[in-house]
């Protein structure tokens, strides 16, 4: 069973008077394996928040169908086992951190003593114990995110949605949040993380989907997404001939040709070795093969740029 499964979900927001339609999502199909850490990446306005809101029944889809934890999203009871940290959440400011957890935890099936224990545990986990009796309106942005995270976990969910959880949090806070998420994954929970910050997702996600303008552009493991673009800088000594550069093997793969180096794009190691063999038989002396590592960020920006005709985000 998939934790999340959508089929051709689309969303059109209608303007105030029925005009000015916004196609926030177009035929989006994705599936998230149970127990996995899924990252949804995309620039602002790509539709990341919209898909989560549809999955949680906060927004109605315009078309398509979706299942969460094996049940149709129209069944609100499935949310007993789901947690959610919205972006820019607003807790009742007159409640203390502890009261927020008690309030939202009240909707779960837990008994009062169970809930109390869970709240103590979560306040410890999120390092909010010393602020538990303070009103949330006195909290800093980082504390708000931490209490928000505790809130998302209060019902001990199997699946947890996080919308830009590290937004506005300092680097140490980010690391702490990341560690908490990885800890959740170790407990077998499914995590669905939205972010426009690629570096955040790259470090934690098993699978990543990149979306732009409501469409999935690319999907795969972090490894797949970064490795398909593998590039090498090859330095050499000797004269490089035109016929070598224009051969079937090399013409589409080598670039930036200088007298002592060129860059090579190789889909796999066999191709890399074939090029090296060809160079050797040309009588070139190979001095170095340095992989130019493409981060997800690079491939992300490149993808978005090619889709947008070169206009950067």
């Amino acid at each position: 069973m998939f934790a999340v499964e959508t089929e051709n979900i689309s969303k059109i927001y209608k303007g105030a008077f029925g005009n000015k339609q916004i196609h926030a999502l177009s035929d989006m199909s994705l599936s998230v394996e149970q127990g996995s850490f899924f990252g949804l990446l995309g620039p602002n306005g790509a539709g990341k928040t919209t898909i989560i809101k549809i999955l949680l029944g906060i927004t109605n889809p315009s078309g398509g169908s979706a299942k969460v934890l094996g049940q149709d999203i129209s069944n609100y009871k499935l949310k007993k086992k789901v947690g959610f940290l919205p972006e820019n959440h607003r807790f009742p400011p007159y409640l203390t951190g502890e009261q927020v957890l008690k309030f939202f935890g009240g909707f779960s099936d837990m008994s009062q003593p169970e809930l109390k224990k869970r709240i103590d545990y979560l306040l410890d986990l999120t390092k909010m114990n010393d602020r538990r009796k303070y009103k949330v309106k006195t909290y800093s942005k980082g504390m708000m995110q931490r209490i928000g995270l505790a809130q998302a976990m209060v019902n001990d969910p199997d699946l947890i949605f996080l919308d830009e959880p590290t937004d506005g949090v300092d680097p140490i806070g980010r690391k702490e949040i990341r560690d908490m998420l990885l800890n959740l994954k170790d407990q077998g929970k499914t995590i669905f993380l939205n972010s426009h910050l690629l570096s955040e997702v790259e470090l934690v996600a098993d699978r990543v989907a990149i979306i732009d303008k409501g469409k999935i552009i690319k999907e795969g493991t972090v490894k797949e997404l970064t490795e398909t673009e593998k590039e090498y800088k090859i330095t050499f000594a000797g004269h490089i001939s035109d016929s070598f550069c224009n051969s079937e093997l090399t013409s589409q793969r080598i670039d930036n040709i200088h007298t002592d180096y060129f860059t090579l794009k190789a889909e796999d190691d066999d191709r890399l070795n074939a090029v090296i063999d060809a160079m050797r038989s040309e009588g070139l002396l190979i001095q170095g093969i340095v992989p130019i590592k493409t981060s997800l960020e690079d491939s992300f920006i490149r993808l978005i740029n090619t889709k947008n005709g070169g206009v950067s985000q």
Binding site: N60, K79, G83, F84, P86, R90, F107, S108, F161
Partner: protein, 277 residues
């Protein structure tokens, strides 16, 4: 059911935290003090009783005269209490639904295992419960004061707790609908005040206005409004009549107002379900 209780409980807490409750109670207390001052200037109920029934042909016992006097007093209070009670209730509850719908807040609620129907029901009932508590305080205190001063307890006066709450419930259903459509308390407040302060008195005089004009358009407009807003005047009259012990009271306005409340609530649920947050 548990979900509804949690939300009602926290709506009370919200009202306490936003100082809605205390403001309501203070303003009610001021009203009560005002009534109290008016009493202290009055003579005894027997005097009022004889004034209220100048044409009483049969000689009456003194208790009958006191009872008549108290009823006459309370009869006069009902209309005032309706206006003050509604006024305070509108102010104290106008923000509840729009605040719930604020971005970042509604998302949290809807991500819990609670249906949209339950959520709106609970918020509506929570607002109503807050108003009910305050109206009990307002009307109850005045009833107590009258009773203590004249040693006469007219229980039918307490029915106005129910009738004020009922008229408010209908108004609040409309406020909820407008709150959902506009996500702001401004329009609900303006429209409710317009209803209580302008439309209701105007509609009370509509037969007089019809004498001034033959226009069927004007008549049509007034009749439409009459059925689109809670029939507060008629319900005040019903409350007054039951205090005076009138026999042949017509209860139709209660039914039409109840129907209107159901229509506004259904529309609220419909738009709440349809709306994206």
């Amino acid at each position: 059911m548990k979900n509804i209780w949690i939300i009602i409980k926290y709506t009370f807490r919200e009202a306490l935290a936003k100082k809605i409750m205390i403001t309501f109670l203070i303003l009610s207390a001021l009203t009560i003090i005002g009534f109290g001052l008016a009493f202290s200037l009055m003579g005894d109920a027997a005097g009022i009783g004889s004034v209220s029934q100048p044409n009483a042909s049969t000689p009456q016992s003194s208790t009958e005269i006191i009872s008549a006097g108290v009823r006459f007093l309370e009869y006069g209070f009902v209309a005032t209490l309706f206006v003050i009670g509604l006024f305070l209730s509108i102010f104290s509850t106008a923000g509840l639904v729009p605040d719930l719908l604020k971005k970042g807040n509604i998302d949290l609620f809807l991500s819990k295992p609670i249906s949209k129907f339950e959520l709106l029901c609970a918020k509506y009932l929570g607002g109503l419960a807050i108003v009910f508590v305050n109206i009990v305080f307002l009307v109850g205190s005045i009833w107590l004061m009258v009773g203590l001063k004249f040693s006469f307890w007219e229980t039918s006066f307490l029915l106005s707790i129910a009738s004020i709450t009922f008229v408010f419930a209908t108004l609040y259903a409309l406020m909820t609908l407008l709150g959902i459509l506009t996500k702001s308390p401004v329009l609900p407040i303006i429209i409710s005040f317009l209803i209580v302060i302008v439309l209701n008195p105007l509609l009370a005089m509509r037969s007089m206005l019809y004498d001034l004009t033959d226009s069927s358009v004007v008549k049509g407009i007034f009749e439409t409004f009459y059925y689109l807003i809670p029939q507060a005047n008629e319900i005040v009259t019903i409350s007054q009549d039951s205090i005076m012990g009138k026999a042949d009271i017509v209860y139709t306005p209660i039914y039409t107002t109840a129907a209107l409340m159901i229509v506004y609530l259904s529309l609220s649920f419909f738009f709440f379900k349809k709306k994206d947050f």
